[in-house]
Symmetry: C2
Subunit: 153 residues, 2 copies
Amino acid sequence: MKPFLTTTLLAIGALGLASTALADLKPEEQIKYRQAGYSFMAWNMGKIKANLEGDYNAEQVAAAANAIAAIANSGMGALYGPGTDKNVGDVKTRLKPEFFANLEDVGVIAGNFVTASNQLAAVAAEGDQADVSNAFGEVGRACKACHDKYRAD
Amino acid sequence: MKPFLTTTLLAIGALGLASTALADLKPEEQIKYRQAGYSFMAWNMGKIKANLEGDYNAEQVAAAANAIAAIANSGMGALYGPGTDKNVGDVKTRLKPEFFANLEDVGVIAGNFVTASNQLAAVAAEGDQADVSNAFGEVGRACKACHDKYRAD
């Protein structure tokens, strides 16, 4: 796992600078891809929650945590280009315009999310259910930190 | 990486047996989550393709390959429950009914996809562009093998 500061700076970097590979994605494509990432993470968060509340399958939890961490580390900041805080045709977004006025804060929040996701993947690989429960809570709080500030209800 | 046979059997297992955690997902939710996974993998495949065709950023490619592999290993077979070969309201799917009549073949194809994805992640971490190009082609062929047989145009 990368140190917190490095992770945060990388997150800010990812937010500020879309790569050549992504420069030609339209706003509606960026919105769709980032929603796909969050949706797939939500499915995996749901699986982990169900495991913590029921029969615990360590292999399933580890796979779910790996998916969340890998998505979190995939550079999703590049999917927050200009214009992606507005609906485009039938592609809807709940991103608040405040997001773009607070990129430093967003970078810190994103860094926390990456750190928490990496921690969850690390403890899920070890298989201790109490550790997973704690790390899962941290990921949930990291998600909520952004939703509370930058996602419309 | 797991041996091929094990991976294939796991894939068949995942396809045949939804876990308790997932048993209560409605068909339309299963369709949405699996489409989210494929969409997010497509974004990452696009990034790798752009890197191979332009300036090669080994860190971005490794992160993209990790995301693809982690999604491939997350047990998506559980998102192919009964009824998910039909549109549900405004949730559309292109899955052909033939999928359910050929689960053994589907398991082999899914196993190939997991193996190819793991191989791509492994060589992407090493950073050799020629190896990545070959492994990327294998993943693309593994995707296409399923699309050709079980996805409607």
